[in-house]
C-alpha cells in the first residue's frame, strides 16, 4: 500500500484590534488615519441606533418582525467599507449596517421592515440586491452578478453576505463551487454569529471552521475576528483585490456573536442563558473601537454625546417619515407582477378593485 498526502490545508485567522481596544501588531494603512476609523465608528453607532429604534417600534406594533444586528455591526460595515460604490452587494436579511453604508436610507429600511415593497426600491445603490429571506438562496445570485460584470469587462466586484446557518445549505456550496470554476469576482462573507435561531454553530457543522468550506471547492478561505471592524475591512479589501485582479473568489468567515434575539419574534432565553451571552458583551465591536479611538486621543466624551444625539435625531426623523408615508394604493399589488399586466390578471385586478370575485 502506498499512502501519500495529496492535499492539505490551513486556515488563517486574522485579528487586529483586541477586545481591550489595543492594536495587536501593525495596523493596516487605512487605519493610520483616525478620520477613517471615525467614519467606521459613526456607521456602527448609527446602525445600533437604528437597531434599537426598530426593535422598540416592533414592540409597540409600528414595525413588522425585525432581525436585530446587535453586536455584529462590524461584519457588515467592515465589509462594505472595503467595497467601491459601483460594486454590488447581495445581502442577507441582517445586514442593515452594510445597507446603510451602501446608501440605502434609514427610511427605506423602515419601509421594508414595516412591510412596504418600496423599501427595496433603493434610490441609492440601484444595482444592490434586496435582502434575501430564504437562507443562502441569494448566494447563486452573487455568482450570476459577478459573471455579468466579468463578461462585460467591468472593474466591479460582488459581495454576498450570509449567516453561519446558510453554510449548511446546498445552494451555498453550489455557489462557491461555481464561483471557483468560473473564477468570478465574488467575495462570500459569513456572518458567523454562532446561532441560527436556536441551533448553535456546533450543531450546524462538524467542520472546525466555516472558512475551510472554501477548501473543498478550491477557493481561498480565511477567518477573521468579526468584532474587529478594522480586521474585517482589511481582510475584505484583500479579498476584493484578489477578486478584481485575478477573478479569485474568497470565503471569509467573520466570527462574531448575536447579542440579541434571532428576531423580534424569537425569545432566545428558551435556548441559551445569560451566562453564555454576557462574556460576549466584553468583546462587542463598538466599545472596542471607541476605546481605541479614545486611546489615540481622537474621540472625546463630547464627540460621543453629539454622535449619539445626531444618530437618534436621524433615526427618529426617518421613523417619523416612514410612519407618515401612506401605504401604496391597493391596486398596486397587481402592477409589478409582470412588465405588462396580462389580460387574465387585469380582469382579476378589476374585480378586486370592485370588491367582487367576478374575475
Amino acid at each position: 500500500m502506498a499512502r501519500t498526502t495529496v492535499a492539505s490545508f490551513a486556515i488563517d485567522r486574522v485579528a487586529m484590534l483586541g477586545s481591550d481596544g489595543q492594536m495587536r501588531g501593525a495596523a493596516p494603512a487605512f487605519a493610520a488615519d483616525p478620520a477613517e476609523l471615525i467614519t467606521l465608528y459613526r456607521a456602527m453607532v448609527l446602525t445600533r441606533s437604528f437597531d434599537a429604534k426598530a426593535v422598540a417600534m416592533q414592540r409597540t406594533g409600528r414595525l413588522g418582525t425585525y432581525a436585530s444586528v446587535l453586536g455584529q455591526e462590524a461584519v457588515g460595515i467592515g465589509a462594505v467599507a472595503a467595497m467601491r460604490p459601483e460594486d454590488i452587494l447581495v445581502p442577507s436579511f441582517r445586514e442593515h449596517g452594510a445597507q446603510l453604508w451602501r446608501g440605502v436610507t434609514l427610511e427605506e429600511l423602515f419601509l421594508y421592515w414595516g412591510g412596504d415593497e418600496r423599501g427595496s426600491n433603493f434610490a441609492g445603490p440601484r444595482d444592490d440586491f434586496p435582502v434575501a429571506i430564504p437562507v443562502a438562496s441569494h448566494t447563486p445570485h452573487a455568482v450570476g452578478a459577478a459573471l455579468a460584470v466579468k463578461l462585460r469587462g467591468e472593474d466591479r466586484a460582488v459581495v454576498c453576505i450570509m449567516g453561519d446557518g446558510a453554510t449548511s445549505k446546498g445552494d451555498f456550496y453550489e455557489s462557491l463551487n461555481l464561483a471557483g470554476v468560473w473564477s468570478v469576482p465574488a467575495v462570500f462573507l459569513v456572518n458567523n454569529n454562532q446561532w441560527a435561531i436556536s441551533v448553535p454553530r456546533s450543531a450546524q457543522s462538524a467542520a472546525e471552521t466555516l472558512a475551510q468550506k472554501a477548501v473543498a471547492v478550491g477557493i481561498d478561505g480565511v477567518q477573521v475576528d468579526g468584532n474587529d471592524v478594522i480586521a474585517v475591512r482589511q481582510v475584505m479589501a484583500e479579498a476584493l483585490a484578489r477578486a478584481r485582479a485575478e477573478g479569485r473568489p474568497t470565503l471569509v468567515e467573520a466570527v462574531t456573536y448575536r447579542l440579541g434575539d434571532h428576531t423580534t419574534a424569537d425569545d432566545a432565553r428558551r435556548y441559551r442563558d445569560d451566562a453564555e451571552v454576557s462574556p460576549h458583551w466584553e468583546k462587542e465591536p463598538v466599545a472596542r473601537l471607541r476605546t481605541y479611538l479614545r486611546g489615540l486621543g481622537a474621540w472625546s466624551r463630547a464627540d460621543e454625546e453629539k454622535l449619539l444625539e445626531d444618530c437618534r435625531a436621524q433615526v427618529d426623523a426617518a421613523a417619523d417619515a416612514f410612519l407618515a408615508t401612506p401605504p401604496q394604493p391597493p391596486e398596486t399589488i397587481f402592477d409589478h407582477i409582470y412588465a405588462e399586466l396580462p389580460a387574465d390578471l387585469a380582469a382579476q385586478r378589476a374585480a378586486a378593485m370592485e370588491g367582487s370575485d367576478d374575475g
Binding site: 446546498g170 455557489s175 409589478h336 412588465a339 387574465d344
Partner: protein, 326 residues
C-alpha cells in the same frame, strides 16, 4: 425554407436570439461541446463561444440561481435543465426569486430569464425523466409557462420567451422533439405569449390541450370526423397567463369541452380551465366538462409507461361522452 423538427426549431430560435442580442447566454449541463443531451444547443458554442454558451457544474439550484443573478444584472440567460425530474431544486429560485424581483423592488430589478427543460413522457426514458409538472410552475404568480406543440410554435414562442422582460418556464415536449417536421422561416418573428391557438376548427366539441398531447388530440379530431363529429382543437401553448377568451369563445360555439393533458389528474392545469369554464361559460355548456389526463400515479417505468400515457382512443371516447350527453 427547410423542414425542421421541434428540437431544431428550439436551436434555431436560440441562435437567432443570440445573434440579435449579445446579452443572451445559454447555460446548463452539457450544453456546450456536447450540444445538450437532446442536441437543442448543438453548434451554439462554436458559433458564439464558451463565454456565451456555458457548461455548468452538475447543480440545478445554482443553474437557476446564477441565471437569476445574470438576469438581474442585465443579461438574458437561457438555462437548460436536462430532464424534468431534476427541475425541483430550481423551484426555490424560480418561485422565491425569479418570479418576485420585479414586484419586491417595485420594478427596480427584473429577471428576464428562460428556464427550459425537455418535458413529458413517451420516449421510454429512465426513472425521473418523464414527468409533466407544468401545473407546479403555472400556479406561481410572476412566471410565464409556455409549452410549444410544433416546430413553428417552438421557434416563435422561444423567441418571444427570450425577449420577454419577465421569467419564462419553457417546457419542451420531448416526445415530439423529432416526431414532426415542418417548414419554419428563420425570420425572427415571434408568437404571442398570451394566446391560445386554434389548431383545427369544429362545431360540435372543443378539445383543449397542449404540448405533445396535441398529436393524440388532433388524431382524435380526425377519428371523430369520420363519425360526423366536428371537433375544434385548441393548443393552449401559454398556460400562464391563460387566454381563456379563446377557449370560452370556442365552447360558446360547441357547448362541449374535453381537456387533454399528460400530467396527472389532481391539481393538473385542466382543473383550472374546467373551473373557469364553470365560472364564465356555464350557460354555454351542454355537457359536463371531460378531462383526459394521466392517472394520479407515479410515472411508471418504460415497460408500463404506455399504460400511463393518455391515448387517442381515450380522447375520442371522452368527446363522444360529451357529445352524446343529453
Amino acid at each position: 425554407m427547410a423542414e425542421i423538427t421541434l428540437v431544431e426549431a428550439v436551436r434555431l430560435a436560440l441562435a437567432r436570439a443570440m445573434e440579435e442580442d449579445e446579452s443572451v447566454l445559454v447555460l446548463g449541463e452539457d450544453v456546450g461541446v456536447d450540444g445538450g443531451v437532446f442536441r437543442a444547443t448543438d453548434g451554439l458554442i462554436r458559433r458564439f463561444g464558451p463565454d456565451r454558451v456555458r457548461d455548468t457544474p452538475l447543480a440545478e439550484a445554482v443553474i437557476a440561481g446564477v441565471s437569476v443573478g445574470l438576469a438581474v444584472q442585465g443579461f438574458r440567460p437561457v438555462a437548460e435543465i436536462q430532464f424534468m425530474g431534476f427541475i425541483y431544486p430550481t423551484m426555490d429560485q424560480m418561485v422565491n426569486h425569479a418570479a418576485r424581483f420585479r414586484n419586491r423592488t417595485r420594478g427596480r430589478l427584473t429577471c428576464p430569464m428562460v428556464l427550459r427543460a425537455p418535458y413529458g413522457g413517451g420516449i421510454h426514458a429512465p426513472e425521473h425523466h418523464s414527468e409533466s409538472n407544468e401545473a407546479m410552475f403555472a400556479h406561481m404568480p410572476g412566471l410565464r409557462v409556455v409549452i410549444p406543440s410544433s416546430p413553428a410554435r417552438a421557434y416563435g414562442l422561444m423567441l418571444a420567451a427570450v425577449r420577454d422582460p419577465d421569467p419564462v418556464v419553457f417546457l419542451e415536449p420531448k416526445r415530439i422533439y423529432r416526431a414532426i417536421k415542418e417548414e419554419v422561416a428563420d425570420d425572427g418573428s415571434e408568437q404571442p405569449l398570451d394566446t391560445c391557438f386554434v389548431l383545427r376548427e369544429g362545431t360540435d366539441v372543443t378539445l383543449v390541450t397542449w404540448g405533445a398531447m396535441s398529436v393524440e388530440t388532433l388524431a382524435a379530431a380526425e377519428a371523430l370526423a369520420e363519425t360526423e363529429i366536428s371537433a375544434e382543437v385548441i393548443d393552449v401553448a401559454t398556460l400562464k397567463p391563460l387566454d381563456m377568451a379563446t377557449i370560452l369563445a370556442s365552447v360558446e360555439k360547441t357547448g362541449r369541452c374535453v381537456i387533454v393533458h399528460e400530467a396527472a389528474l389532481t391539481g393538473g392545469f385542466g382543473g383550472e380551465i374546467a373551473a373557469r369554464l364553470a365560472e364564465h361559460g356555464l350557460m354555454s355548456l351542454l355537457a359536463p366538462v371531460q378531462r383526459v389526463t394521466g392517472h394520479d400515479i407515479v410515472m411508471p417505468l418504460p415497460r408500463l409507461e404506455d399504460q400511463y400515457m393518455p391515448g387517442t382512443d381515450r380522447v375520442v371516447a371522452a368527446a363522444r361522452r360529451a357529445v352524446e350527453f343529453a
